[in-house]
Symmetry: C2
Subunit: 470 residues, 2 copies
Amino acid sequence: MQNEYEIMHIDTDIIEETDIKEEITTLLKERNFSQLKSIISDMNPFDIALIMEELPKEKIAIFFRILPKDLAAETFVEIDTDMQEELIHTFSDVELREVFTELYLDDTVDILEELPAGVVKRILKNTDRETRHIINELLQYPEDSAGSIMTTEYVRLNSSLTVADAIAVIRRSGVDKETIYTCYVTDNNRKVMGIVTARMLLTSSPDKVIEEIMETSVIVAKTTDDRESVVTALQKYDFVALPVVDDENRLVGIVTIDDAIDVLQEEATEDIEKMAAITPTEKPYLKMSAWGLFLSRIPWLLLLMISATFTGMIITGFEASLASQAVLIAFIPMLMGTGGNSGSQSSVTVIRALSLDELGLGDIFRVVWKEIRTAILCGGCLALACFIKIWLVDRMLLNNPEITIMVDMVICISLFITVLSAKIVGAILPMLAQAVKLDPAVMASPFITSIVDVLSLIVYFKVATSVLGI
Amino acid sequence: MQNEYEIMHIDTDIIEETDIKEEITTLLKERNFSQLKSIISDMNPFDIALIMEELPKEKIAIFFRILPKDLAAETFVEIDTDMQEELIHTFSDVELREVFTELYLDDTVDILEELPAGVVKRILKNTDRETRHIINELLQYPEDSAGSIMTTEYVRLNSSLTVADAIAVIRRSGVDKETIYTCYVTDNNRKVMGIVTARMLLTSSPDKVIEEIMETSVIVAKTTDDRESVVTALQKYDFVALPVVDDENRLVGIVTIDDAIDVLQEEATEDIEKMAAITPTEKPYLKMSAWGLFLSRIPWLLLLMISATFTGMIITGFEASLASQAVLIAFIPMLMGTGGNSGSQSSVTVIRALSLDELGLGDIFRVVWKEIRTAILCGGCLALACFIKIWLVDRMLLNNPEITIMVDMVICISLFITVLSAKIVGAILPMLAQAVKLDPAVMASPFITSIVDVLSLIVYFKVATSVLGI
């Protein structure tokens, strides 16, 4: 027998580059469900979800009912919350049970967390007592904890089984488990004794006893650990799953690498958003309303705008001096901009290193010392370039008589001091934030820039008044 | 028999929280190698690497020789390039062969890419002809391609095997393969026909034929694909490995999820660095010299400083008007800052959405329309807040007579227009960069800020001259 096989390239956009959407629409219109079923049952849940998003609203429920049960459940995980909610409203209780029984519990919990309370209630009413109990427990873990991303569906083995027995256990119960590639050996109190990977089972002789082959030094996470540290551990030890235990070291769940990779992306996005002074949201950009975007952005803009009041006050304070040397005004934006950029570079580098666990609080002096040396190099280079540029361009090319050697020096000395202080502030603030358990990511560009703006103006005017005697 | 087992929590810092470092140093001094060996053979390569970094230089080679062969190889992957190079210099040719035979080929290639040519030559001289051939081929793939992160050590199965046969094949050859959890079914020309997961094998009856159980719709990457798109595919389809094929669809390697997760971290770090106007480097922060940091930062600082020349020219051009209304100067930093922050928010959001594949070029009008509405909300709110603040604080509290209703209005109208244009520019530029195949990440805060600085000054002075008639 020769199966027909189909190779698809990762960059194939299933909707753009194939005529599958048209084909499906036509088949739906003709109500040719058997043909439709045979086409979609070969497809990936992710791609099916993409197609569902393109279908007219009234066709979605019909289309979803054509999917084989397991594929329906997997697809349900991939579609967005709004569509999930709409589908649930069209489900009978039986259908609801069918979909949710097929789901892994961690996916169920992820979905429930986003749905309105009424819908959640209806779903829970349609699960059996034991599952409801587990779901309720999972729902109670704090949002960013290991408990919130773990699944309770793992393979548990007894240490006295043989390899052949263990494989039989997996064959019997493995279908419903999120991963069978790492199995957990526990004692009667559910305490972790060791781990056995599918690789160990497949490469050991069938009559060996689990206790002999299991790996006995196990790295575990606690349910209350930050989910980010779970992901970091999975990554640094190259595991495909990590066991999660309660305070008594009893195994309560596992975190698998496919969930970890999602967390990693989400956390990186969150960090990036915080660095740009945006309140992080979990929704993809195109799903956000303008109002939602406004709400996530305006608090920070207001805060930063108000904090810019100080720069205004400083300038007003030096108005008399500026009036006598109006040429100085023209260089304010360059000074503040370069200072801000220098500070952002340092703060962002330090924030990222902190978040990747490359840096700890104990490194603060090494960091500051490194930044001081870097700042002297950058500041020196910039000051020199600036000095030459002002003389050649502003003085000689644009023929501005107000620019004297002294004015040029005032600008460049200020630039040097600004860069130096910007880099020090940029490196120290994220570490201080970490020390007081704040998220270092908020100490990024916008925040640093506001501080550096004030610093650079003070430096500039102090240098100007003392050098030029104004 | 009862093995002794050891549970370690993920946050345990092996060096800080245990006295293992002292213990190891003492054992090394006493040359008690058997005791030492029994302690470290239970440890993870990652933790052993941490300990090696803390050891005195002259002890490192001795310590490394105590490790069992497979653990030595795994640890060698985890230590940094400098230490790898030093160790290689102490290796005899036999030792060199021992370490590199144990390594997976993709790890070997990663290591070779960082080492100086002379060392690479010596390593290649000590591998057999076939391996050398494969390594040379892998080394030729472009740095960010799928080919550069794939491994050639995967399990290949014949479609006519039974499940029991396939398990036997894995038992025989699986030890040297990077993953046995996804096996690839190919025809005589190495063309991919399907995939079989270890889960399918373990949950199917042993006498079934592979052809009957294999998954025949396979998603593949090409060797020349960007490594980021491979990672995205692994993530969206929840795979543990992805096959990589050449132009004739012949299987040449696989990318496994543990490598993908590293790529993901690296790419996020690169994006963040580019967004902060830093040339990305692969070295961790503490390993970078001040000179290295300087080199990665100075080109952008210089470029941005020179581009700030325009702001100076604009201010100089309006010097006369500013002299008659000196109060306007005080609000320049606030205007430029708020504009820059507004623009950064939009650009960073769009850049991240592009990099997560949530946005395509076709969405540009939806994006701009969304940003315009958000900008009207943000701009309106900021302008109102600013108007009230200036009147209450600057006029009434600080008693500045220069601030009239008209001046206040000039500032707030300029603020509104600046925010609006900043958000539009911030959203469009990353998408244009993507369109002309530039990395959108360079269109982040520093770059946007430079453009918005110029825009805001022009807007401010135009509004001021027309409203105040100066």
